[in-house]
Symmetry: C2
Subunit: 666 residues, 2 copies
C-alpha cells in the first residue's frame, strides 16, 4: 500500500545513511572505536554479513530449532581460522590474547547471545579451565582435539543446592587407590549439577567436586569427566534437560548427576594440586581456602567475557531504539508535521545516559583486556592478582546491570513495536537477563570488590601511601575525607576535574566509612565478623559500584583525550561528560548528604544533564551507525532492516508522514 | 534421591504453613485484605482451584497451544455466573460495579495475564465501549449476545502510524447518504489497525476512525465493524497475525485493514454524537476536542483494570520470590548451618520496599474503585470527571512500572532458578512488560496527570482555596512553599505526620514551580506552548509520580488505621512506614535540594529504611501467604508448589540442609 512518495525526506536520508553512505564523522568515529584491531573486526563482520546462517532469527523457531541453530552457528564460528587460533594463542600466552578475545566476543555477540554463550561453553570455558588449572601435559592432550571440534565440553560447577557458595558443593570425588581412579558421585539431590550448558551435546565435562582422600575433603577440585560418546551416556551419568528458560534458549542447560562414575587419576586437573598414585596429596599451596580461591580466580576471563557480552548487547539494543526514535513521529505543534520522538525530553533522558554508559563500558572493557595482557606477558598470573580479579568482578556486575536496564528502556522507548518479537529487543531482553546471575551473581561479586578494596585499604593505610586500585587516594583526598569539602567550587560541573574529584571522593569516603563501621562492630562491639559484614551489605555494594564507576569514567576520559579526530572527539567528550555528570546526578542525595555539593549545584547539575542529553541526542544516530553492527545481526524492521519472512514489517520511513494529508480534513 | 529426613524442620514448617495450617495472624490479615468481598473472592478462588483447566502452565506450549489455552480459559471464566453478571451490572449501573470488577480482575489475573487480557478484550473492552459510547438501544442490541458468547469482540484504536497520538489516526469512516452506510477504509499503510487483540477470533471490532462528512473529518469516532463470521472474513477486511511477542502470547494480536468496508449507519456508537440519515451531524458537545476527550475518557475503566492487573501480578511474583528467599540457604557463619538468603541485608532491601509498594497499590486500587462507584451511583459520569481520569492514568503508570520492576527484582532474587520457565517468574516478566505501554503509554499518561494538576492549580489558585485532588494544599503548605521549611523537625521520621507532610510538600512544590516555569516560558518569553511543555517533560513526570505516591501513601495510612485486628495492623503499619519512608529516601536528593531535610536526617532515614526492611522481612512470609493465591496459579516449584510434568522440580526444603553432613568432611 505504501509507496516511495510516502517516505519523508528526513526518513529517506536516514535509511540511506544507515545503509550506504556514511558521513565522514561516522567513518572516523568508527575507525577510532575499532582501534588497532580494525582489520580483524572488519574481517569478522564481513564473515557474518556474508554467511546466510546468520540471517535467520529466533522468533519463529521452537526450542529444538533454536538449539539447533545456535549449535550450527557456534560450529561455523569455531571453524573460522581466527577463532580456532584463539585457543592456541591462549596456550602460547600470546601478547594480545585478551584483547583479541574481546573483539571476537563482541562481534559474535551481535549474532545472538545464545550462539556466543554456546560456543563459549563448548570450547572456551572447558578449554580455559584446562589451560588455567591443568598441567602442561593435560593441556597438550586435551586442547588439540577440542580445537578441531573432535569433542565439545561443559563446565559443571553449580549444584542445585549451591550456586554462589561454591565452596560448599557436595559432589564427591573419592580416590580409590586400588584402581588409581576417582569415583565421582552425587550423594544427594542437592548435589546434582544444575544449569549446565551444552548438557545435551558435550562429550566431556569439567566437574567441580570435593576431593575426598581418606574420608576427608581437601576442598573443591576440577575433574574431567566423560559424559557421552557416539554410543550414548557414560555409565553412571544421568542428564536431564531443564527445558525452556526466560532466554538463551539456544543453549541446552541440563541437570547432571553421577552414580559412582569412575575416571582415571589423570583426570584431576593438577596444576595447583595433585594426588599421587599412592593417594597422597601434593600441593604448593598449603591453605585449602587459598588454593580454592586461586582455582576460582583462574576463571576470571569468562567474567570479563560476560562484561563484554553485556556491553555488546547494549549496543544492539541502543542501535535499534535510537534509529527508531529518530524516525518515529508522534505528536507535534498544531498544524505542523509531527515530531520525532527523539526530540522529546523524556526520550532523551531515557536513552542518552545509557548510550554514554555503553561507551564508557566499551572503552573500559578494552582497557581491562590490555591490562590483563600486559600483566600476563610480563610474567604475572591473574590467578594471584586480586586487583584485576576485583576489577573483573565489578565490571561484570556493573555492565550486566547496565545491559538489563538498557534493554528494558529500549523496549519501553520503542512502544508496542518493541514488544513484538520481530523487532529483536524482546528476545535480547530475555537473553541478557541471565548475565546478572551466572559467572557470579552480581550481588556476590560486588561483595568481592568491596572486600578487596578493604584489604588494600587496611594494608596501605598504615603506610600512608596507596597504590594499585587505590592509587587515586592522594593526600588531598585523604585530607578532604576529614573535612568533606575538598572540591574548590571554582571548577565547572562539566569539567573533568570536578567530575573526577567527585567520583574519587565518593569511593574514598565510602571506603573509609565502611572500614571504620566494620571495625567498630567487630573490634569494639565484638560482633561475629560474618554478621557484621552482613549488616553492611548495602554500604558494601554502594562502595563497589562507586569503584567501578570511577574506573569507567577515568577510562572514558582517557579514550576521549586519545581520540585524534576532532569531530568524533567532541562527540565523545559530550558523552563522557554526560556519563560523569549523570553518575553524580543519580547519586546526588549522597553528595548532598556529604556536603560535597550544595543545593544550588545540585540543581545546576540537573539542568546540565538535561542539556547534555539533548545535545547528544542530536548526533546519537551517528554514534550508533559508527558501531557498524552487521545488518543481519540487527534484523529489526523498526531499525530499518526488514526480514524476508514478515509480511507486516515496519521500516522507518515507509509509514510516516501521511498524517499531513489527513490533517487537512480534521 | 531426597527423602523426608533431608528436610530441615524450618523448611518443613514453612511448607506446611504455606499449604494447610495458617497461624491466626495470617487468617486475620487475609480476612482484612479481602474485605467486604471475602465471600466472592473465596468463591472465585475455589472455582480456580477446582478447575483442572487452570493447572496447566505455558512454558511447554507453542504459540498456537498458548493461544488455545488462553481462549479456553477465558471462555470458562466468562461462563462463570459471577463474571457473566458483570456486564449486566455495568449496564444497570450497579452500586459496586467497579469494586467487583477489581475483584474479578485480581483473581483471574492470578491464572495468567494472557487469559485475563484475552477475556477482557473479548467481552469487556468491546462491551465497555458500547456501554460508554453507545445509545441505550445499541447497548440493548449488542450486549445480550455478547454476554452469552454468541460472538466476541475486539477493540481497534491503535494504528501503525499512531499509537499514543490517537487523535491523528487515519482510518476513515465516510458517510454515504445513498445507502445510509459508512465506508470504513484504510487509506495508507500507516492507517492499518495494529496490535489488535483477539484478532484471529473476534466477530466484531470497535473501530476508531475519522468520521468524514462532506469530505471533512469530525474527528475520531467509534464504529462497530463486522470482521468475520462462520463463513470467513467480511468482504474488504484483511487480518494479519503479528506472531510472537515478548509475552502475552495467549493473546492473538493482529493487523487489521479495511478496503472500503460497508457498515450500516446504526453502527456508529452514538451516545455523544450521531449522523442522521440525511448526513447531518448532531451532537451536544460542540467542540471537537472536548468530544474526543470525553470519548476517550469513557474508557478509563480499562486503565484501572491494567493498574489492578499489575498489582495482582506483583503479588504472584513476590509470593514466589519471598517463599524462595525464606527457604533457600546460602552461605553462613563458619561451622554453622547456612542462612536463608532472606536474612541478607541486600535481599531485604531488594524485596521489602516492593512488598510495601504492592500493599499500597492494593489498598489504593480498592479505594479508587469505590470512588468511581460512589461517583457514578450519585449520578456523576467519569467521562467528565477529569480528576478521577487523572488518578486512573497516574495509577496505571505507577502500578505498571512497579510491576515491571518487581518482576525484574524477583527474577534476580531467585538466581538461576528464577531464570527457568518452570518457576513462573520468567514468563510473568515478559507478560507484564506490556502494561507500561498499552492502554496508554506511561510517559504519556504522566503528562495527562500533570496537565490536570496544572489545570486545577490555576483554576483554584486565584480563589486561594483548593479542593479535589489538591485539597491537601492547606494554608500551611502554601505558606511553606515560600519558605521551604514547613516541617517542624520535632516529628519523628517514622511518624505519619512527617511522611505525609513530606509527600504533600513535594507534590505542592513541584506543582508550583512547574506552573511558574511554564508561565515564564510562554508568557514572558513568548515560547510556543507545545515547545515549552516539552522542555518541562522531566519536571512534569516527577510531579505526576509524586502525586500518585502521595495518594497511595494516604490510602495506605487509612487502610492501616481501619484494620480492626491488632496483629495484622501492626504488620501493615510497618509496611506502610517503609513505603512512605522509602518514597522519601529514593528521592532524598530532591528533599535535600529543597532543604526539606538536612544531611543528618537523610542518614537517619537510610538507617531506618534498612531497619524496617529487616523487620518486615521477618513476617513477609505471613503477608504473602495471607494473599491466598491458589496453588495452581503459583505453580512454581521454588515456591513449594510442584508440577506433575517436571522431573527435576525443586521444592523448598526437599534439597537443603544436607550440607551439614558434608561439612564434617571439609
Ligand atoms: C542459563 C544459565 C546457564 C548457566 N550455565 C552454567 C554452567 O554452564 N555451568 C555452571 O556451573 N553453572 C551454570 N549456571 C549457574 C549459575 O552460575 C548460578 O545460577 C549462579 O552462580 C547463581 O547461583 P544460584 O542460582 O544457586 O543462586 P543463589 O546463590 O542461591 O542466589 C540466590 C539469590 O540469593 C542472593 N544471595 C545469595 N547469597 C547471598 C549473600 N551472601 N549475600 C547477599 N545475597 C545473597 C543472590 O544475590 C541471589 O539473588 C547457569 C545458570 C543459568 C541461569
Ligand atoms: C500486546 C499489545 C496489545 C495491544 N492491544 C491493543 C488492542 O487490542 N487495541 C488497540 O487499539 N491497541 C492495542 N495495543 C496498542 C497500544 O495501545 C499502543 O502500543 C500504545 O498506545 C503505544 O503506542 P505506540 O506503540 O504506537 O507507541 P508510540 O506512541 O509511538 O510511542 C513510542 C515511544 O515514544 C514515546 N513518546 C511518544 N510520544 C511522546 C511524547 N509526546 N512525549 C514523550 N514521549 C513520547 C513513548 O513514551 C514511547 O516510549 C496493543 C499493544 C500491544 C503491545
Amino acid at each position: 500500500m505504501a509507496d516511495v512518495s510516502e517516505i519523508s525526506p528526513r526518513d529517506r536520508a536516514m535509511t540511506i545513511q544507515a545503509k550506504n553512505q556514511q558521513p565522514p564523522v561516522v567513518t572516523l568515529l568508527s575507525k577510532y572505536l575499532d582501534g588497532e584491531y580494525h582489520p580483524l573486526k572488519e574481517d569478522l563482520r564481513q564473515f557474518i554479513r556474508n554467511n546466510k546462517l546468520f540471517n535467520m532469527e529466533y522468533s519463529n523457531l521452537n526450542l529444538q530449532e533454536q538449539r539447533y541453530l545456535a549449535h550450527e552457528r557456534a560450529k561455523a564460528i569455531l571453524r573460522h581460522p581466527k577463532c580456532k587460533n584463539q585457543l592456541d594463542e591462549q596456550v602460547r600466552g600470546s601478547l594480545d590474547f585478551m584483547k583479541k578475545n574481546l573483539i571476537l566476543g563482541e562481534v559474535f555477540a551481535f549474532v545472538d547471545p545464545s550462539t556466543n554463550v554456546k560456543l563459549g561453553v563448548m570450547v572456551f570455558l572447558f578449554g580455559g579451565a584446562i589451560i588455567n588449572l591443568g598441567s602442561a601435559a593435560q593441556v597438550q592432550k586435551w586442547l588439540g582435539p577440542l580445537k578441531d571440534l573432535q569433542y565439545t565440553g561443559m563446565f559443571a560447577m553449580t549444584e542445585r543446592g549451591h550456586g554462589s557458595n561454591v565452596r560448599c558443593i557436595e559432589t564427591e570425588a573419592t580416590y580409590n587407590i586400588e584402581n588409581e581412579e576417582f569415583i565421582i558421585n552425587t550423594p544427594t539431590r542437592s548435589a546434582q549439577k544444575m544449569f549446565i550448558g551444552n548438557g545435551l551435546h558435550g562429550e566431556y565435562a569439567i566437574v567441580f567436586a570435593q576431593l575426598i582422600l581418606h574420608n576427608k575433603s581437601k576442598g573443591p577440585h576440577a575433574f574431567i569427566v566423560p559424559i557421552r560418546n557416539e554410543n550414548g551416556l557414560y555409565p553412571g551419568v544421568t542428564v536431564v534437560d531443564l527445558g525452556l528458560k526466560e532466554g538463551m534458549n539456544g543453549v541446552d542447560n541440563c541437570l547432571l548427576s553421577f552414580d559412582h562414575v569412575r575416571i582415571p587419576r589423570e583426570h584431576l586437573l593438577n596444576k595447583y594440586a595433585d594426588v599421587l598414585p599412592n593417594g597422597s596429596y601434593v600441593t604448593d599451596i598449603l591453605k585449602d581456602s587459598t588454593r580454592f580461591n586461586i582455582m576460582l580466580a583462574a576463571l576470571i576471563g569468562t567474567r570479563l567475557a560476560v562484561a563484554n557480552h553485556s556491553t555488546a548487547c547494549m549496543s544492539v539494543g541502543l542501535t535499534i531504539a535510537i534509529r527508531y526514535a529518530h524516525s518515529r513521529l508522534q505528536f507535534g505543534p498544531s498544524n505542523k508535521q509531527e515530531m520525532s520522538i527523539m526530540s522529546y525530553q523524556t526520550h532523551q533522558i531515557r536513552l542518552m545516559p545509557l548510550l554514554a554508559k555503553y561507551l564508557s563500558l566499551y572503552f573500559t572493557g578494552r582497557q581491562v583486556a590490555s591490562l590483563v595482557d600486559d600483566h600476563q606477558t610480563s610474567g604475572g598470573s591473574i590467578a594471584t592478582n586480586r586487583e584485576i580479579q576485583a576489577l573483573a568482578s565489578g565490571i561484570k556486575a556493573y555492565a550486566s546491570w547496565a545491559c538489563v536496564q538498557t534493554m528494558q528502556i529500549c523496549r519501553e522507548c520503542t512502544g508496542g513495536q518493541g514488544y513484538m518479537a520481530e523487532n529483536r529487543i524482546a528476545g535480547l531482553k530475555g537473553d541478557v537477563d541471565v548475565f546478572v546471575t551466572y559467572e557470579g551473581d552480581n550481588t556476590i561479586l560486588l561483595q568481592q570488590v568491596a572486600k578487596e578494596l578493604l584489604v588494600q585499604y587496611r594494608k596501605e593505610y598504615t603506610k600512608g601511601k596507596f597504590s594499585g586500585m587505590l592509587s587515586f587516594l592522594t593526600k588531598a583526598i585523604v585530607v578532604s575525607l576529614q573535612t568533606s569539602s575538598l572540591i574548590p567550587r571554582m571548577h565547572s560541573i562539566t569539567s573533568y576535574t570536578f567530575q573526577t574529584n567527585a567520583l574519587e571522593f565518593r569511593e574514598a569516603r565510602l571506603l573509609q566509612t565502611l572500614a571504620s563501621r566494620l571495625a567498630n562492630k567487630v573490634q569494639k562491639n565484638g560482633m561475629d565478623s560474618f554478621m557484621a559484614w552482613n549488616e553492611c551489605l548495602h554500604h558494601l555494594n554502594a562502595l563497589a559500584m562507586s569503584h567501578v564507576e570511577r574506573v569507567c569514567y577515568e577510562q572514558f576520559v582517557i579514550a576521549v583525550k586519545q581520540c585524534p579526530y576532532p569531530g568524533p572527539r567532541s562527540m565523545l567528550a559530550k558523552c563522557c561528560k554526560l556519563y560523569g555528570l549523570n553518575c553524580i546526578y543519580s547519586d546526588r542525595g549522597w553528595y548532598l548528604e556529604e556536603s560535597f555539593i550544595n543545593a544550588k549545584m545540585a540543581k545546576c547539575i540537573r539542568t546540565e544533564v538535561l542539556k547534555l542529553c539533548k545535545e547528544t541526542a542530536e548526533f546519537s544516530l551517528e554514534i550508533v551507525n559508527s558501531l557498524r553492527i552487521p545488518d543481519n545481526c540487527i534484523h529489526a524492521p523498526i531499525a530499518g532492516i526488514g526480514h524476508d519472512n514478515t509480511s507486516w514489517l515496519f521500516a522507518p520511513g515507509a509509514d510516516s508522514n501521511t498524517d499531513i494529508r489527513m490533517k487537512s480534513k480534521l
